[in-house]
């Protein structure tokens, strides 16, 4: 056999060994894949949508696919994110399934609910704030120009004639090559009397006079999970059309870090993410233009605002060094580039303005929010602003001093890293209320629930805190109060902790139960602690107090949909006067719109990027301290949810045994009054239960009994002789309000005895105990907790243990 042919065959055979076929249903896609790659890796370059937040790390358990080929059971350590049922059905995680041989997999049906995606596209004007008239100066302008006959005759270049015709301000007029290529025909067709389309001192086009008032621009809000586009009429500043879509980059992870990780690991990573983004944006543009009946050639300018990484990817810049300390971006300048260079399909000479950024994590989106808030245009008031998206960005200050910081808040607040979390699309529980003893959900698209989005998660946890189903340390526990009794069965014990059943299989859209798991609460605690700590750090850095802040602006989807009381209840926001809170809506987009309509705002954004003081929290230990200090939920919030009802129920069901004092000093009948006097002095008490020689309850002796005896000179009396034997007693299983209702007397201490043996003392119910029960009910009507931290240290009894034990026993 020919040697070369043999080698060829060997090579071919080797190639066959090195590759396998992956057949993807229902798209009927055949992929030739390198052996050993995971299904997740193989699907990356395709359009197949699979779930997942973590970018293929095997952490989130959401990239489930069904393996239709015969498949073995994965090793134990890879089973934790799948249920028994799923394993039986051949469901596997795409990122943990390696391709060793040909495989047929089925991905879920293509997501058809794109239309219902709840993306915040509207923005709110606030406080009558509109674009000042003198600021109205769009980034691209059109000017009527008439080149007079005199200039036409003497053989001057066309561009020179235009310079002369336009006057001294345009002496340096330049033109794009593309424009020059069509300029002579265009000038002559209009008889040297037409419209110049200008961007700064660049001529972009020459048009007929009829085009003068036909002038549009597009602004993009580049969110990590969602993209919003707005078509704006540059003549009057009106928004003509708005469109939004999910960011298709999400398949490379729902957070910036996962995507930058992808960029880092793949030679064509930047190009790939850039291409996907541009494809999305061009779809948005097509949609906007079609809706408004405008041609792509009519759009000469676009403005994009996003986080620094997204802005880099729009410009095909390698942003991967943003992902590790010291978080270095390639560029933070505001950029004006030719839109066509990025692949955007607008007029070939259209200009794309990309917002300036401050740092790797303070992008043009936050600068847009600051512009929209107007915070930097005044120096009287201190303004706090929050943009809570995938990442949390915070600003504080005003025109004289503005500070920013960025915190890793997003995943949980956008439904990621939450077991049944999802972004706010059809089926997401967006709002939760408690009425008539049961929970009620508001679901996006008004269908049965599929999961929880950020606002739904915050509201659910706030309600469960109020009901005592989550305690202030974040532990899910079985409720004991009557208010929440219908929900008791929803608390399910699993793996040593409790999970909360949000929806049963019957109640949900997909026939699978929806849970709020203990670890989901932990994720939310981390997220809200990060935001709260960011706010706290800025406030201290600025040297002000919470009360000095006169306005609080909330931007972003979560900021708009979440109930402000819920956000304060879980401690995501500090307690403010709710009237100080202003919802800005899609403020990044608003800021971008302001920029497209005003060169003044473009300059202001660039100046802001320079003047802002950015506080990098990663280096600061005080942030870490605040972070930990804010991880618990606030304890003593004023009760605003069914407070009286909850309080009454709780008090009415606290039993004597739960709050009584068990280690209370007693005295024997045989003790002398002087001994009693000493005991009163030593213990600081005002009276004692008196026990007979057999240790059984005889009566009660108080300081009043003693003083009466001493007045009579009875120094050698025995306690048994002065004690009161007519007793008002209580039983451990009696309810507190029953005991209190049975007597009008103000007893300092009530002996607690066994119901079936009234001479057997088991404890003492003191006035303080009753007060404590009320205080506890008041404080803990909502957030029940161990109680041990609430007990003043001076009380050397074991009331706390008693209560603690009772509660734990019941809760488990």
């Amino acid at each position: 056999m020919d040697k070369e042919l043999k080698q060829k065959r060997v090579r071919k055979k080797k190639e066959q060994l090195d590759f396998v076929w992956l057949h993807v249903l229902p798209k009927d896609l055949w992929l030739k894949v390198r052996r050993g790659e995971t299904v997740w890796e193989a699907l990356q370059p395709t359009d197949v949508e699979i779930g997942g937040d973590c970018g293929g790390l095997g952490k989130c358990g959401k990239c489930k696919v069904k393996i239709l080929s015969p498949v073995g059971i994965p090793p134990i350590r890879e089973r934790d994110l799948l249920t028994e049922d799923e394993l039986d059905q051949g469901i596997r995680l795409a990122c943990r399934t390696g391709l060793k041989r040909d495989l047929v997999v089925s991905t879920e049906e293509a997501d058809s609910d794109q239309d219902y995606v709840q993306i915040l596209t509207t923005s709110h004007t606030h406080g009558g704030r509109h674009l000042p008239v003198h600021y109205f100066e769009p980034l691209v302008e059109k000017r009527l120009v008439t080149v007079s006959g005199g200039i036409q005759v003497d053989g001057l270049a066309d561009l020179e004639r235009l310079r002369l015709a336009m006057g001294p301000a345009y002496q340096k007029l330049k033109s794009t090559l593309n424009c020059l290529q069509t300029l002579p025909e265009a000038l002559r067709a209009t008889g040297y009397d037409g419209v110049a389309v200008l961007h700064e001192d660049f001529l972009l086009a020459w048009q007929d006079r009829a085009e003068m008032f036909h002038q549009y621009g597009i602004v993009f809000d580049l969110g990590t999970s969602t993209l919003v586009g707005k078509l704006i009429n540059l003549v009057d500043g009106v928004e003509v059309a708005v469109a939004s879509c999910l960011n298709s980059q999400s398949r490379y992870g729902t957070n910036v870090i996962s995507r930058l990780q992808y960029v880092r690991n793949h030679p064509r990573g930047v190009e790939n993410l850039h291409r996907i983004l541009i494809k999305n944006l061009n779809q948005l543009c097509a949609h906007l233009l079609e809706t408004a009946g405008v041609k792509a050639e009519d759009v000469f300018v676009a403005v994009a605002a996003g986080n620094t990484a997204m802005q880099h990817l729009l410009l095909k810049l390698n942003a991967s060094w943003i992902a590790e300390a010291p978080f270095t971006p390639v560029v933070t300048d505001g950029m004006a580039v030719r839109a066509s260079e990025t692949g955007l399909m607008l007029h070939p000479d259209a200009v794309l303005h990309v917002m300036p950024a401050k740092s790797g994590y303070i992008g043009g989106d936050l600068l847009g929010v600051i512009l929209a808030s107007g915070a930097s245009e005044q120096e009287e008031e201190i303004v706090l602003g929050l943009d809570l998206g995938t990442n949390g960005e915070i600003f504080l200050g005003n025109g004289s001093r503005m500070m920013t910081c960025s915190v890793a808040a997003g995943p949980a607040l956008e439904g990621a890293r939450i077991s049944d979390g999802m972004i706010a699309k059809a089926g997401a529980i967006q709002s939760v209320s408690f009425e008539g003893g049961d929970l009620h959900y508001l679901v996006v698209g008004n269908i049965k629930p599929k999961g929880l989005c950020g606002s739904g998660l915050v509201e659910l946890v706030a309600v469960l805190l109020e009901l005592g189903i989550i305690d202030h340390e974040g532990l899910i526990r079985r409720p004991r109060n009557k208010v929440a009794r219908k929900l008791r069965s929803r608390v399910v014990r699993r793996g040593g902790v409790n999970d909360f059943l949000v929806c049963s299989a019957d109640e949900s859209f997909h026939g699978k139960p929806i849970y709020l798991r203990q670890r989901d609460v932990r994720e939310l605690q981390l997220a809200k602690a990060a935001v709260a700590a960011g706010i706290r750090t800025l406030i201290e850095e600025m040297g002000v107090e919470i009360d000095d802040i006169s306005q609080v602006y909330l931007a972003g989807a979560l900021g708009n949909y979440v109930n402000r009381h819920s956000a304060m209840r879980i401690g995501l926001l500090p307690r403010f006067d709710p009237d100080k809170l202003v919802l800005l809506g899609n403020a990044a987009g608003t800021g971008a719109s302001m920029v497209i309509l005003s060169r003044e705002y473009w300059q202001m954004a660039k100046a802001l990027a320079v003047s802002i003081e950015h506080v990098e929290l990663s280096w600061r230990t005080d942030f870490d301290d605040h972070f930990v200090a804010n991880m618990d939920f606030p304890k003593d919030n004023a009760l605003h949810l069914h407070n009286n009802e909850a309080l009454n129920h709780i008090v009415s069901e606290v039993s004597v045994g739960e709050v009584m004092t068990t280690h209370y000093p007693t005295i024997r009948t045989t003790a002398t009054v002087l001994e009693m006097n000493n005991l009163l002095r030593d213990t600081g008490r005002h009276g004692f239960p008196v026990l007979d020689e057999n240790g059984r309850l005889f009566g009660v002796a108080t300081i009043a009994d003693l003083s009466r005896a001493l007045e009579k000179g009875g120094n050698d009396l025995r306690v048994g002789e002065i004690a009161t034997q007519e007793l008002f007693v209580a039983f451990p299983d009696q309810l507190l309000d029953e005991v209190l209702g049975a007597t009008r007397e103000d007893y300092g201490r009530i002996p607690v005895v066994e119901r079936d043996d009234m001479r057997c003392l088991v404890g003492v119910l003191r006035r303080q105990d009753i007060m404590k029960a009320y205080r506890l009910a008041l404080k803990k009507a909502t957030a029940r907790e161990n109680g041990c931290n609430e007990i003043p240290e001076s009380d050397n009894d074991n009331w706390s243990e008693a209560l603690n034990g009772a509660r734990q026993g019941n809760g488990n």
Binding site: R77, A323, A325, G495, S618, D624, M631, N786
Partner: protein, 212 residues
């Protein structure tokens, strides 16, 4: 053992006053400081680790418990004679290069310390060379690395390689952890161990050194 239950409970609850009082009582009752540490404090921290792993405890509760133990140790430390302290082993710990996350690493360090290990904490953003230098200097039994970002995870194999090149790989065990890290990744980069949380890290460290 039950003598120290109240002390362990106080540590678990993070009740500093009660724990200090219990420690004093135990000493007054003539108990050996080592017993107070092992059977009281360490036993309490073990339970804290367990509860943390299950999700019953969260970061603040764990920190409070660790702080409680530290306060008790202040009483006990002067009573321990030089050379009397038997460390379970020396562990070098740090967050890898490019990563500034401190809290998770600190929790692990605290729990390890609570379990009786000697800790050398290199801090955050620790480059591979520094790990190597400190291994040479301190001769630890274990090198523990943390990374919170998927983008800084590659610094882990880089550090392992650097330790290998310095000829120290057979002298130390390596364990890793952090939110994006998995058991599988640990195997891929030939780390000797992985733990998903601070409680698990203690068990893993004991396992690596053959401590029951």
């Amino acid at each position: 053992m039950s003598d120290f239950k109240a002390l362990s409970d106080a540590v678990i609850k993070g009740d500093i006053n009660a724990a200090v009082a219990q420690t004093q009582q135990a000493l007054e009752a003539g108990h050996n400081p080592h017993d107070v540490i092992d059977k009281g404090l360490v036993a309490g921290m073990d339970e804290v680790g367990n509860r943390f792993s299950k999700g019953q405890f969260f970061v603040p509760q764990m920190l409070r418990a660790a702080k409680t133990m530290q306060e008790c140790m202040k009483l006990l430390h002067p009573l321990l004679k030089e050379g009397d302290v038997v460390s379970k082993g020396k562990i070098l710990i740090g967050t890898v290069k490019g990563d500034l996350h401190d809290i998770g690493k600190n929790l692990v360090a605290m729990m390890l310390e609570g379990a009786g290990f000697e800790i050398v904490d290199l801090g955050v953003d620790v480059p591979p060379e520094k790990f190597v230098e400190k291994v040479q200097e301190n001769r630890p039994d274990i090198v523990a690395m943390s990374a919170l970002l998927s983008t800084t995870m590659p610094a882990m194999p880089q550090t392992i390689t650097a330790i290998e090149k310095a000829g120290l790989r057979d002298k130390v065990k390596v364990m890793i952890g952090g939110a994006p890290v998995t058991e599988k990744y640990a195997q891929e980069i030939k780390s000797d161990g992985y733990a998903s949380d601070a409680g698990g890290a203690v068990n893993k460290a004991k396992g690596l050194l053959g401590i029951p």
